[in-house]
């Protein structure tokens, strides 16, 4: 089932079997993509949206010197560019970060859903609102947090999102990103990221080994990044194992 991770464990939202079947039927194609592949370019006219099944993808904007700022990272279960359905033209590029498997959903199918299934339409809308909530959290991260805080916030956020997708046990997850990806995500240089990762390791908060992340102290890491998972609208009770829930006040 391709849509298994879509809106999984989201608070107050549950896909009914009829809705899930309709969403599955709306998929026109499954594609496997290599890492570092551009999928959508800003300004392209679009007639389909992408549901990410496996791997990591990003949305990004390059500055006039070609330096990249990632503005979103997508995990399995995300409808990466659902906002392209009403917008038709995006203001940013979309690319794979790792090898990825995606489901293609034509906009004509989404159009039909809006006519036939208003409840499912609201749930699709809900998923774009989650994206907006994540953007707000990223703005906070850049505006208020220092280097260690930014990385701590991103790792804590990714951990909870992957817990929701069933890809983290609350402490360990595979993150197929390289150091320069983290730099672009957190607006830091490679040297700075290197130092931050060392600091997190020395403070026994979090360890990166190859592409594996181990969070040694989830609550302390969350506190260091001022991370409060409320904005992800995830039902943590059902998504997590009891010992790993991030708590700001501990």
């Amino acid at each position: 089932m391709f849509t298994e991770r879509f809106l999984r464990h989201r608070r107050g939202v549950h896909l009914e079997s009829e809705e899930r079947a309709r969403l599955e039927a709306s998929i026109s194609e499954i594609k496997t993509l290599p890492p570092r592949t551009n999928i959508v370019m800003a300004g392209d006219e679009l007639s389909q949206s992408i549901l990410l099944l496996e791997g990591f993808m990003s949305r990004y904007i390059d500055d006039r010197n070609g330096l990249r700022q990632l503005v979103a990272v997508h995990v399995p279960g995300d409808f990466v560019d659902l906002h392209a359905f009403p917008l038709k033209v995006l203001d940013h590029d979309v690319a794979t970060m790792t090898a990825a498997t995606v489901a293609i959903v034509p906009h004509s199918e989404l159009e039909a859903i809006t006519h036939d299934l208003p409840a499912l339409t609201r749930k699709l809308w809900f998923s774009t609102l989650i994206d907006a909530a994540i953007h707000r959290a990223w703005l906070f991260r850049f505006g208020r947090l220092d280097a260690v805080g930014r990385v701590a916030h991103f790792i804590s956020e990714t951990n909870v999102r992957l817990m929701s997708a069933g890809l983290s046990d609350g402490r360990r997850f595979a993150l197929g990103l390289i150091q320069s990806d983290l730099a672009e995500i957190c607006g830091l240089t490679n040297v700075h990221i290197n130092r931050v990762l060392r600091q997190l390791r020395e403070e026994r908060l979090c360890v990166f080994r190859s592409s594996l992340v181990e969070i040694l102290e989830p609550a302390k890491l969350a506190a260091r990044g001022q991370f409060d998972p409320a904005y992800l609208y995830i039902d943590l009770q059902s998504a997590e194992s009891p010992s790993s829930r991030p708590r700001l006040n501990s």
Binding site: F142, L145, D146, V191, H192, R195
Partner: protein
């Protein structure tokens, strides 16, 4: 009536600079996180000291109160 301001305020705590792989990394205050070459860091430092001296003179001349 007491008014509260949530806008960013002037920092009273200094940022911390350190050397890393032949570069200067500045952490804080607040959301500041920047890496500079040694030359850029030295020039920034000189500029900061000049501006700080001027700001102190402004306080002395005009009686500005930096009682944040």
């Amino acid at each position: 009536m007491t008014e509260f301001s949530n806008t960013p305020q002037p920092q009273t705590k200094p940022g911390i600079a350190s050397a890393e792989d032949g570069l200067v990394v500045l952490d804080g205050p607040d959301g500041v996180a920047v890496t500079m070459t040694a030359d850029a860091a030295q020039k920034t430092g000189t500029s900061l000291i000049s501006a700080a001296e001027l700001a102190e003179k402004q306080v002395a001349d005009n009686g500005f109160k930096n009682d944040i």
